[in-house]
């Protein structure tokens, strides 16, 4: 597990360790850990990390916020921290102040679209919206005749069909039917739904990378404890090589996600290079979630398949996060089109520019 080297991550890790310890959370059938955790995160200003001071947030840098999401992944945090951060970030793009409380963003899939009519009312359906049921407000990217707008919507104005993703977190369908937003402003020039999906995808990539770090950690520990055939299973070469591959997948996810986060944190615009970084991160992290998670389960055997064990908190969430803000299949097609369109001789220069 990477040592935290900034104060935001340190603060968050302390809160996670105290109030979101995966074993404690897993044993708690009533979810009574959620409220104190959210309160502590809010008091530390973390959900609105990416919102400037003058818009009601704590004005944390993009880079520190990304590191915070990576830490949240390491604890498989199951409150709408990432979602509220993304919502605050989206609203801040249009200089809309963020309210207190849980938020989420919509749409959460590149396929869905919210439209804005001439009166400024919003309509459309967004599927797979993470934590919509828990949210007090939605940050919405909407399209009208004169381009994209960003809006703050009271969550009670939308119709919510609840659902659960593979990781047992809320992933809901939100329908807006001529909903008047609390606030609405034009999106900045060049900001579109792809920008929002790339940002959301990088957030999920960092969470997946964090979950994989923890899966590697607990798998290594378990293999050093579990005895079979009269020795620790960590002494079997087949197990060692599986764990080495898990380390490789974890490393690839971490490298891809932190590189994309660094690219966005230092980008002047979402150009082809940032697109390569962000799309690649989502694709590679999703692949790692599948391959790495499978190894973590294989090492744990039957115990890892139980609800009592914490492994599934990481493995299933990592798999679920693949679907948000464009799956790896979506981004692979889009990245492939971009590469083909730029032409064969422009592929290496693009890769080498990073």
């Amino acid at each position: 597990m990477a040592e935290s080297d900034n104060i935001v991550v340190e603060t968050a890790e302390k809160i996670f360790a105290d109030l979101a310890d995966p074993q404690t959370v897993n044993n708690d059938k009533k979810d009574s850990w959620q409220a104190p955790l959210w309160q502590a995160l809010s008091e530390a200003g973390l959900p609105l990390a990416w919102v400037p001071d003058d818009l009601g947030g704590s004005g944390t840098s993009l880079a520190d916020g990304f590191a915070l999401l990576n830490a949240a992944g390491r604890f498989a945090v199951a409150v709408p921290l990432a979602e509220t951060m993304l919502a605050g970030w989206l609203l801040a793009q249009a200089k809309i102040a963020s309210p207190e409380g849980e938020m989420t963003v919509l749409p959460a899939s590149p396929k869905d679209r919210i439209t804005r009519d001439a009166d400024g009312a919003l309509s459309g359906r967004a599927r797979g919206v993470p934590f919509a049921k828990a949210a007090k407000h939605f940050a919405v990217l909407a399209h009208g005749k004169d381009g994209a707008s960003i809006a703050l919507v009271d969550a009670s104005k939308g119709r919510i069909e609840t659902g659960l993703n593979v990781g047992y977190d809320h992933s809901d369908t939100v329908t807006l039917d001529k909903v008047q937003p609390v606030a609405i402003k034009p999106a900045p020039k060049g900001f579109d739904q792809t920008t929002m999906m790339l940002m959301g995808g990088v957030a999920r990539s960092l969470q997946i990378a964090g979950a994989l770090e923890s899966m590697l950690d607990i798998s290594v520990r378990y293999s050093n404890e579990r005895v079979a055939f009269e020795k620790k299973i960590s002494k079997f070469q087949a197990v060692q090589h599986n764990l080495a591959r898990l380390a490789g997948e974890s490393a690839a996810a971490l490298a891809a996600a932190t590189s994309a986060a660094d690219a966005i944190a230092n980008a002047r615009s979402f150009d082809d290079a940032v697109y390569l970084e962000a799309a690649s991160a989502k694709i590679r992290c999703a692949e790692a979630a599948e391959k790495g998670g499978a190894i973590a389960h294989q090492v744990h055997g039957a115990i890892g398949f139980t609800l009592e064990h914490i492994l599934h908190r990481y493995s299933l969430r990592a798999l679920a996060w693949r679907d948000d803000f464009g799956s790896e299949s979506h981004w692979a097609v889009e990245l492939g089109k971009l590469i083909a369109n730029r032409g064969a001789d422009e592929l290496w220069p693009l890769v080498a520019s990073r």
């Binding site: 764990l243 490298a255 932190t258 690649s280 590679r284 492939g336 083909a340 990073r354």
Partner: protein, 386 residues
Amino acid sequence: MTAALRFDPIRLPEKCEQLRKEVRAFLAEEIAAGTFDPHKPNREDTDAPEFSRRVGAKGWLGMTWPKKYGGQERSFLERYVVTEEMRVANAPTRRFFVADRQSGPVLIKYAPEHIKMDILPRICRGEICFAIGMSEPNSGSDLFAAKTRATKTDGGYLINGTKIWTSSAHIADYMIAIFRTSQPTKENRRHGLTQFLVKMKQPGIRVNPIGQITGQYEFNEVVFTDFFVPDDHVLGEVDGAWKQATSELAYERSGPERFLETYYVLTELVRAVGPNPDTRSAEGIGRLVAQLHTMRRMSVSVAGMLQAGKEPVVEASIVKDIGTVWEQQLPHRVRDLAAFVEETATNRETLERQLDFAIKTAPKLTIQGGTTEVLRGIIARGLGLR
């Protein structure tokens, strides 16, 4: 907590990009002059001594080494840029690649001063070629089973035995090899091997080419019969090669050559598919590019850590493990997608010829320079499993 794996998002500094432009311009000139064909990847069959000298004249060999040995004292990241541009262009680097990456650094660390002053400047000028004498007929991954003897005699050692799979031995001017100077001890089976500098093309050395499944004759059997090596050609501690063998491995294992070996088929596929790919081709290319980008970011990260004086042994092994598995699978994934390329694609024949070669090359990639199994053992040790 498990030992943390670090892959910080290191970026190449600005001065690297100027250098990259220079390397690209140089390679474009060489291609235009007919030195090599970038679409023909069978670089290993091509010995290009004049090209080697021109690369040396540019200051791109031994570029991180001290100036007094002919180096440029430039950063490891700058060397990285030169290496990756050469690799992507399919430039004929075989004559100088081993010396620049591995042999030179070993000499800098362990050779006596007069030998450094003699040999290193010649490497930097691109004049000499090195081979590495590690494997033997009964000693491959298990390096410490090596049996080729170095017997002490007046003023030096007499070498008897056989090295095998020795790349470039048929053109090499020197070899850095390990020979047995003592028997292993009960306490340490790695004891008793010594690293030597060997001057090739001498009586007492016979080099027999070995045909490879690619159709090339790139590696060799090297037979030593009472071959004399002077005392000052001992590199480092007698009987103590095992202490020296590991520290350079991070350099050897994490470079761009560990995932770009078959890259050319991806470029050619993109060319064949054209600007408007169907969904299947787009998806396939997108995944491969995402994987490539990730590999490179990992590799650059390790290069940055090396430049900062760290020893990322586990991270470097991870790069070689997943990098070589990737470059091994790449021709097959490209073949999958090439099945849907239009018959009319103008580069179809080039792509097919390249795939034919890359598919034959693929099996060696996870064997040479440390097998996948050895690497995973190193990673497992780093994780605290062994």
